[in-house]
Symmetry: none
Subunit: 212 residues, 4 copies
């Protein structure tokens, strides 16, 4: 249907530029919306904000889930990167840990879809972005542990779960009771310090209590 002949060399480049621009617009818009409203948003809203049609959106991301994952991957990456940077800049390992949580909770914890997924991800850590974040935390953990500031036995998973946990607290209180989560963070960080005698339970210390 197209005339095909004249544009020989750049033939495949032109559409691609457009396609890439579109893809980026979609991801950008989606990131915005997902941060604001979580993964339950109407796909139409994303298409609207990115200025592309539904078809384009679905060409790039055949399932809503694909788009969500892409955005999350990206945002987890960025997050991990900025976290790593902040950690490097920090004076000492403990400050690095503290700063990490502060930044995370002040920033990304407001990203609804990020938090929704950070949660899911402990179960099935399929998202590579999250892996980056995990690596950062691993480093923070290792360093704080090595200097003897971190309570012995605390694992990366503990710190990750604490992040998810406090992240949720942020989401809940952010609008009605801003920074109330800050106190919880202090408490938790104090609980993470080395000056506690008792070792942490090995996941199943306490006797069972019946379910509802």
């Amino acid at each position: 249907m197209a005339v095909a002949e004249p544009r020989t060399t750049t033939r495949r480049r032109t559409p691609r530029v457009d396609a890439i621009r579109n893809r980026e617009a979609i991801v950008e818009a989606a990131a915005e919306v997902l941060a604001e409203q979580g993964a339950a948003v109407d796909v139409r809203e994303i298409a609207r904000r990115s200025g592309v049609g539904m078809g384009t959106l679905y060409r790039h991301f055949p399932k809503k889930e694909d788009l969500v994952h892409t955005v999350l991957r990206r945002d987890f990456m960025t997050w991990a990167e900025s976290a790593r940077q902040a950690a490097i800049d920090a004076e000492d390992p403990w400050a690095a840990l503290t700063t990490f949580y502060q930044q995370a909770l002040t920033g990304y914890a407001r990203h609804r879809a990020i938090m929704e997924n950070l949660a899911l991800t402990l179960a099935e850590p399929d998202l590579e972005g999250i892996h980056q974040l995990r690596l950062v935390i691993e480093q923070l953990c290792a360093r704080a542990c090595a200097t003897g500031l971190l309570r012995p036995g605390v694992t990366t998973d503990d710190l990750l779960l604490l992040l998810v946990s406090l992240g949720h607290a942020v989401q809940i209180t952010d609008e009605c009771r801003p920074r109330m989560w800050n106190r919880l963070l202090h408490i938790s960080l104090d609980g993470l310090r080395a000056d506690h005698r008792e070792p942490l339970p090995c996941d199943s210390t306490v006797a069972g209590v019946s379910a509802p």
Copy 2:
């Protein structure tokens, strides 16, 4: 309307037996489903599981919201009651607090709709059941504080937020990493002990960090 002499007692009881059974079946099924899937479930699913028709369900609960509230009220009540009991049975105030969290997290934290609502409720505590729970926590807080075991400055809201926060951790880890939250609980409880020098921040101690 009729003069109706002797049958006073058994007058209106008979037909209700069935209705009550149904109502209970509905609430029971709803509680189950709400615990499993949260408040977003299809009403038809509840009807199906309880073995009643849609009409019956809507006769008892004119709006889906009514049913949800009823279930939540009930479950919050039960929860508060069992929490209170456990607290009373505890040897000392600190054990009471510990046990409370243990029980709460082992039991009700798995209830999706409960947690959803517990979250919402920090903003607008409309459900009366939740108030009961809050009262229990208030007592636990007061007692633990009075004995000097609880870190000064810790409020009921802090404990409540910790509950929500850890509750979320439970929901996340329960299936894939059972009792991993247990370690987080220990950490948090240690952070709550009185032997910490620094006072808690008054909600906005730390300098702002920019959002993503």
Copy 3:
């Protein structure tokens, strides 16, 4: 289940009294509601107002339609009767006619279900009550015709249709423009007077005009 023996003679009378009372209560309540809201009302509303259960209502009137018909029959009867009386009391045939419309439009035209059905009934005059009304109109028509006051060729059906037609006008204007229909009545009655030269069309005088 009942003790069966002692009440021999009056055995079948007692329940009937109750049944009749119930039936009457139902009809009464239904009449009220139907007049207010038309035949589209929820059957529950009728049951509620009459103080009986749904079962009772449906025992007496297996279909909603049955109840509606019963009420309409009754109300058409009453209407016919009061119309006849008013006609008899009138000084002259023309006054009788005028009074009839006045009374009808001031009174029964506000009865929503009556008007709904008066309409339907020109098609299939199944309701006996309406027949009574029709007879009254027939008399009015005959008398007014005989005295030469009524325009020749005007039939009972014409007068009936005028009634339906104006009745509808009443329903529409009653709340927002009370008695606006009164002017229409005057116009129509003047058009019914004998002093018009042209005969009425035989149902199909005018050339067809295309439908929408």
Copy 4:
């Protein structure tokens, strides 16, 4: 967003052809169904008849009400237009008036939803289409009045109410007694002529008669 050189005209036309066809199919089907059954129809029925899915229907008309209004607006417009044309073509003001009613009652009076709304509209004239119709009637009224053919004191509202009133008569008799309303129209028109001595009542001439 692209620079898009030569294809200016055919740019956005192509995809719309289908959409417009669908939209028209929906409106057409809706008009049909609304005319037949009134505004209470099931939206699915409209979708079915127009051959589109529910989604398509709701894309074009987000609320059922929107569709209904669109249809009514359209049909009132058409009606007003054809009425105006017929009035213009008429030999004299009285013929114009006569023709108007003839045409209205032969055509649009069969449209159930139109009549339902024409009725409602005397109370709250919200639909713009209806306003057009009103204007036409106003002109007819003014012209007939000016030539001294119309009975003094007759207002646009009177003529409108007569229209609604007779329209209802049409709906009732159309199927079982076609054109029976024609006689009523003659009567009413005769009543509207100037050769009546008595002035019309100012809305509340006649003494009240008690309600049923």
